[in-house]
Amino acid sequence: MGSPTSDTTMDTAIAGHLRRAMLDADPVLSRYNPLSRILVFDQFNSGTHGWTELIGNHDGEGNLDTVDDHMRDFRPPQLSSCTFFDVGTHGAMTGTYALKVATRPVTGHTAVAIRRLTMAKKGRVQFETYFTYKAEAASEENGASTQAGAGDWDGNIHPSEQQFGAFTIATDICDDRGERYHTVMRYQNTDLDNQFTRRWMYPVVPEPTPREHLEGKAKLAATDDFTAPNPQDWRQIGESQSFCYNEVPTKVNWHYLRWQIDTEARKNIELQVNDRVYDLRDVPVPVYEERYDSLDNLLNFYVSARTHTGVRNFLFLDSVLVSVDW
């Protein structure tokens, strides 16, 4: 007969195997690796699941002229069938529809979709998704083939691949004492000169907020990089990573992403993207100096696409799963 400690350990192991077996038996969930409690699972065949356009704050009269210039045009997310001019409907990884975040065809424009939750307890939080990204295909009207980043077609790499700027996944978190911070992971496909960089990055400063603008501490232009406006405030994580863009802007391959943070320790933990795993425990999390009211236990996730040229950039999410260890 084993000791009480070893029995408990064995029970925990069996429970873990049983839980994983149940996930594996579910064709929908088996592709995910959730923590113990699934907080949300968004498949976009059944709507937007709370993903909406991010907008800045407005005054007491509802006058949207009081919204910061850089936070008033983040574009509404779309339920996309991933339809293209050459083949028609490509479809999502699951069913027909994905969530599409689309920029304007304006250099520096950022499109942002946000999902708003709160924390019932502090602890580990994990964001998982299957995603893909594309620059818009060229047409006579959009003139993409002559926009910055366009080059020669060599039969393999398509000029449009260098017209995709960056996509970002991030949080907006505030604890019950008003201490607010963001955790941010950005994939920068090209730099501001439309040259491939293909790397993961994080900012070392907190994002300027509407209150800081109202207090005269920050003023951003409409196309400034609102997450961290100064390129010098970004740092690279690990080695660069290339994706299967699949040569043209109309072929969609889905990539797995798993990002774990700890809201108790206020730290990043780990980022997995396909076959790469990045240890994020030394990635700093900048905290706002001031305390915030009205945001107790805030837990928001946002995703953004940012174009570095005059071509629309798209981020597609097939599905999203957020899990916690609460």
Binding site: I55, R72, Q78, S81, T83, T96, E141
Partner: protein
Amino acid sequence: MRQSQAAVLERYTVLTGDFTTEPYETGWAAEARWFVRVLESSTPDTKVVFTTQVSPDGLHWCDAEGQEQTAQGEGLVSWPVREFGQWLRIRGSVEGADRSAKVLIYLTLKD
């Protein structure tokens, strides 16, 4: 329960001359309705005309069947669209070289 969605395609945008809205995917929806709020117009008789456009690919556009719509001065105008395929947008024009209109444009969708 039926799915529905409202999207704000232009927010406090000051329109002048000819314009088009950004493409918006609508393949999942069976019916749509545009709402345009003219918040400010340069004169009370400033006219903005709107035509719904459809597209098979989000790149190439033609006018949808149906009437051209007109907003005069400030206020709210609306019109429905059906059988529109994969994408919708508005092609429009503010009449008069020195005229402008500040607008909110909503697209509401239902399956």
